[in-house]
């Protein structure tokens, strides 16, 4: 376990959701749509570079479009390690939720 923050977890999940075209702006937009709150570019960019440093995600250059002034996108992908990490988190969260629901059933 690398110790992901909630934000990092959400970002990685967004990358998974977006599949092919997961670059900075797409991820930001996705997050704000899902959470219903405004998300700034910087608050996404920093976790992204941190995750990349930890090898949980990787990046490659994508297409260059006119709207980007002819510059290439940096497209992120979740690595195998990152995917395992996410699963681990999910397992723990699920387990905790299951435990809780079992407890509440018992109480009733």
């Amino acid at each position: 376990m690398k110790g992901l923050t909630r934000k990092e977890e959400l970002i990685m999940l967004s990358i998974l959701n977006l599949q092919r075209d997961a670059y900075l702006i797409a991820i930001t937009d996705h997050l704000s749509k899902i959470t219903g709150k405004r998300v700034s570019l910087t608050s996404v960019h920093l976790p992204l570079s941190r995750l990349e440093k930890q090898d949980l995600i990787e990046s490659e250059f994508g297409e260059a479009t006119a709207i980007r002034g002819g510059r290439r996108k940096k497209i992120y992908k979740v690595t195998k390690m990152g995917f395992e990490e996410l699963n681990e988190y999910k397992r723990i969260t699920d387990m905790l939720w299951t435990n809780y629901s079992m407890l509440s059933v018992q109480k009733e």
């Binding site: 670059y23 702006i25 250059f61 002034g69």
Partner: protein, 868 residues
């Protein structure tokens, strides 16, 4: 999921118009803020967002958004910049310290050279600051002027003016707020039978209002209400009264009782006015109150915003209004310039300039050492630089690396220099008679750091630029190829630097040789009289009537060979000056020159061992001599344009009631009692039997016993008379104080310059020998003898030093000539001085180099060739 994707994906690509692109300059700015790694994609992202926002909400909003994000990026950018540059500086310093330890000889040579140079510079700066601080401590320093006189034919300047001038100026000119006369004199002060000769002055009450000499006791307003009052300095108060409060005590001054009304703080050394006591001007002599006598200084304080030039113009003819035959104009000389600028040009400021330049030169020589040695050592560091470059060091980084190395050196040198300066200051103070001390005020700390930084950056700049400019491939490829080209260029520069360094040293050597020669010349020149063991005793006026009796009793002592009485001191020209009140047989038209006068007795000629050119001196055989005769010197004859001076009439105070008519009975051969800066001036002598100066010729041995005898004899007549005397020798030497100062300073600086140059040469020789170790080995194996090898190695350096000589000679000739212009009597600048300087420099250079070359030449070739 697809739905989501469609909503988010890059929309409206085709809709993008040219105008929707963020402004170019903002983008460039943003680019600089972003790290290289993410630059491209982030710029793209920003671009996309910009286009999107401007499509939705307009260009203005997009621009605002863009700006906002740039601002948000700045703190992080600055933070990371500082963080990384600190890390790099740490790294630079670490490398620098390692290099410093690695090559100890090199570091020691470098740092000690720099330290000596800096210590020298610091000392000179302290002195310069002291010289420039003269008289600036007065609150109104900028508004105080000394009235001075500009004489016409002969063109000359004077400070002594008529006594009533100050009061007249104050009354007549609204621009002049305050004025005071200042009449300095040395007088006897007595308290309870204890007497001292002290330096004092007659001043007007406004003196303390013009000048800010703080009063410790007493009130400036009331101090001179009573004319019989005196203000003394703290030092004098301690001397007479110890710890007691001196105010209200009585002192005897010129035979009258005066009351101490105030105590003044000791006069700082950087004041041109120096006195132990002040007395009111009112109780001064008659001569201080008439327009026809020039004997006092006048100081004025101008109103604020008054134009000193305009006032100078206004007052220029004041003296002419009040007396006939006045051949001078008045003008104002600013207080702050009195010490530094002599009237009519020159003065102490010349020395300030000369020594500032010298300080820069010495620092330059030390910096050249550093440059030279670093470039020489560069060959050792080629690999280091190459590897660094290959590993991605940028050129600015390498430059920073070398600069931090040189700055580290210069800061270590600075600390050593401060230590050295602190050690040297006491001896410098005793040589220069100054109260210098190391001062750690903010200004000085800044200038110390400034010096170190400047030296560091200057001396590091060349090696930094030179070493960082190599192409890594060329550097790493090995000793052949393009590196040798680089090397040869560096060698030429190194040679040029050494030549320059040695030129400066030779310049100094020639300077000190000429100065020493001129000073020796002054000391040994035939002055026209025998100045050895001549002691001049000043007695107080009370002895006047008995002076011949004392003289005769003194002569009974066999160690006192001869004695004469005179009215005025022999050396003092200023007190003997009179202007244009003279006439003589055959005087026609305008002459206007200054003539000195003195009154002496019969033994004047024999005591000083003077020669007569014509006629005779005063003689006891001619009873009319005291009344009718006068004697002149050759210069006077020339000035009066007389062909046959003997028997001619000579009138003093011509055309006035007090006219004295004399006959010239003899002409004394010119002799020089003045500074040799000036030509011998015209003089005349009249006879007197009384006077306050006794000039005695002592036997060479036991002068102190003779002095004791003289003192006791005088005490027999006046018990409380303070004994004051000087040897004519010393007095004459004191006329050359600045020259002596120049000599001692130049001597030290020359020594330092030569020493630092030698350090540099030593280092350079060791590098060049090291580089040629293999060559020397092979030469020896092939049958070359040790002496041949030494010759080979020293030949190169000899060539440089000779070249330096050729460069230094013209500059030195010019400078030395300029200095000698100050003297009316000067030595010739002969060729041998230049040859001697050349020889000396060559000898010094050879000795320095020979250490290295002999070691290399006598080494066993096997050692140098074994490893290949």
């Amino acid at each position: 999921m697809d739905e989501l994707l469609n909503a988010i994906g890059p929309e409206g690509i085709d809709k993008v118009k040219k105008s929707k692109i963020p402004p170019k300059f903002l983008e460039t700015f943003l680019q600089a803020l972003l790290s290289i790694k993410d630059r491209e994609s982030l710029l793209g992202d920003f671009n996309e967002m910009y286009v999107r926002i401007s499509n939705k909400g307009g260009v203005i909003r997009a621009l605002c958004w863009y700006f906002f994000h740039i601002f948000k990026l700045i703190p992080a950018y600055v933070e990371s910049k500082i963080y990384w540059s600190l890390i790099m500086i740490k790294n630079y310093l670490k490398t620098a310290v390692r290099n410093l330890k690695n090559d100890k000889v090199y570091s020691v040579i470098n740092i000690s050279g720099l330290a000596i140079g800096m210590a020298c510079t610091i000392l000179i700066l302290l002195w310069v600051q002291y010289e420039l601080s003269f008289d600036r401590f007065h609150n109104n320093a900028g508004r105080i002027y000394r009235v001075s006189a500009h004489y016409h034919d002969p063109d000359d300047f004077g400070r002594y003016l008529p006594g009533p001038l100050a009061a007249y100026l104050k009354e007549g000119y609204p621009e002049i707020l305050d004025a005071t006369s200042y009449k300095p004199m040395t007088m006897k002060l007595t308290v309870d039978n204890r007497s001292f000769f002290s330096q004092g002055s007659y001043v007007e009450p406004s003196f303390l209002k013009i000048f800010s000499f703080p009063l410790l006791k007493g009130d400036a307003e009331t101090i001179f209400l009573d004319p019989y009052s005196i203000v003394i300095t703290d030092e004098l108060a301690k001397k007479f009264f110890g710890q007691e409060n001196p105010v209200g005590k009585t002192m005897t001054f010129m035979g009258v009782d005066v009351k101490v009304t105030g105590v003044i703080k000791n006069i700082p050394k950087n004041s041109h006015l120096q006195f132990d006591f002040l007395v009111p001007y009112e109780i001064g002599f008659y001569s201080m109150r008439i327009w026809s006598n020039n004997s006092v200084f006048s100081y004025v304080k101008l109103a604020e915003h008054a134009d000193s030039h305009a006032v100078s113009q206004k007052i220029s003819d004041v003296a002419k209004k009040h007396r006939q035959n006045c051949n001078y104009d008045l003008f104002l000389h600013p207080l702050a310039k009195i010490h530094l600028y002599a009237l009519g040009g020159g003065g102490q400021i010349t020395y300030v300039y000369i020594f500032t330049i010298m300080a820069v030169f010495v620092l330059l020589i030390a910096s050249i050492n550093f440059m030279n040695l670093s470039t020489a050592r560069a060959e050792k560091r080629f690999k280091e630089i190459g590897v660094k470059k290959v590993l991605g060091s940028s050129r600015p980084q390498l430059i920073k690396q070398f600069l931090s190395e040189s700055i580290l050196h210069s800061f270590i040198a600075l600390f050593l220099a401060l230590f050295l300066a602190a050690l040297l200051i006491p001896s410098v103070n005793s040589i220069l008679n100054t109260p210098l001390k190391l001062n750690f005020s903010l200004m000085w700390i800044c200038s110390f750091i400034g010096i170190a930084l400047l030296t560091g950056v200057f001396s590091g700049s060349y090696p930094a630029l030179y070493l960082s400019g190599f192409r890594p491939l060329a550097v790493l490829k090995g000793p052949f190829g393009s590196r040798s080209k680089v090397r040869s260029r560096a060698t030429i520069l190194r040679k040029a630097l050494v030549v320059m360094q040695f030129s400066l040293s030779i310049f100094f050597i020639i300077g000190i040789l000429v100065i020493t020669r001129q000073m020796n010349y002054i000391r040994t020149i035939n002055l026209g009289y025998d100045k050895d063991y001549l002691v001049v005793v000043k007695t107080s006026g009370e002895l006047r009537k008995n002076i011949q009796v004392i003289k005769n009793e003194l002569l009974e002592n066999p160690s006192i060979l001869n004695a004469t009485v005179s009215m005025m001191s022999l050396v003092d020209w200023e007190s003997a000056v009179t202007d244009r009140h003279l006439s003589w047989t055959g005087k026609s038209g305008e002459y206007s020159f200054m003539m000195g006068q003195n009154f002496v007795d019969y033994d004047f000629l024999d005591t000083l061992k003077l020669q007569m050119a014509q006629g005779r001196f005063f003689s006891r055989e001619f009873l009319s001599d005291p009344r009718e005769a006068c004697v002149v010197n050759e210069a006077a004859v020339k000035a009066m344009r007389m062909d046959e001076p003997l028997g001619k009439k000579f009138y003093i105070n011509a055309g006035t009631d007090s006219e004295r008519s004399k006959t010239i009975i003899g002409v004394v051969k010119d002799f020089n009692t003045q500074s040799l800066h000036k030509e011998i001036r015209p003089f005349w002598w009249e006879f007197t039997n009384s006077g306050s100066y006794l000039c005695l010729k002592l036997q060479g041995r036991s002068t102190s016993a003779s002095l004791k005898f003289i003192e006791n004899k005088i005490k027999e007549f006046i018990p409380d008379d303070p004994f004051s005397y000087y040897f004519l020798d010393d007095k004459l030497n004191s006329l050359y104080q600045t020259e002596q100062l120049t000599r001692s300073l130049t001597r030290y600086i020359t020594f330092l310059a030569v020493f630092i140059s030698c350090l540099g040469l030593f280092g350079l020789a060791s590098f060049s020998v090291e580089r040629r170790t293999k060559e020397i080995g092979i030469r020896k194996v092939l049958g070359s003898s040790s002496s041949q090898v030494v010759l080979l190695l020293t030949k190169e350096f000899t060539k440089w030093v000779l070249m330096a000589n050729v460069l230094a000679w013209p500059a030195a000739y010019f400078a030395v000539n300029l200095w000698l212009k100050n003297f009316a009597f000067k030595t010739a600048i002969s060729v041998w001085i230049f040859l001697l300087a050349a020889g000396l420099s060559l000898l010094i250079a050879l000795i320095t180099v020979s250490f290295q070359s002999i070691r290399a030449a006598t080494a066993n070739p096997v050692d140098s060739l074994r490893y290949e």
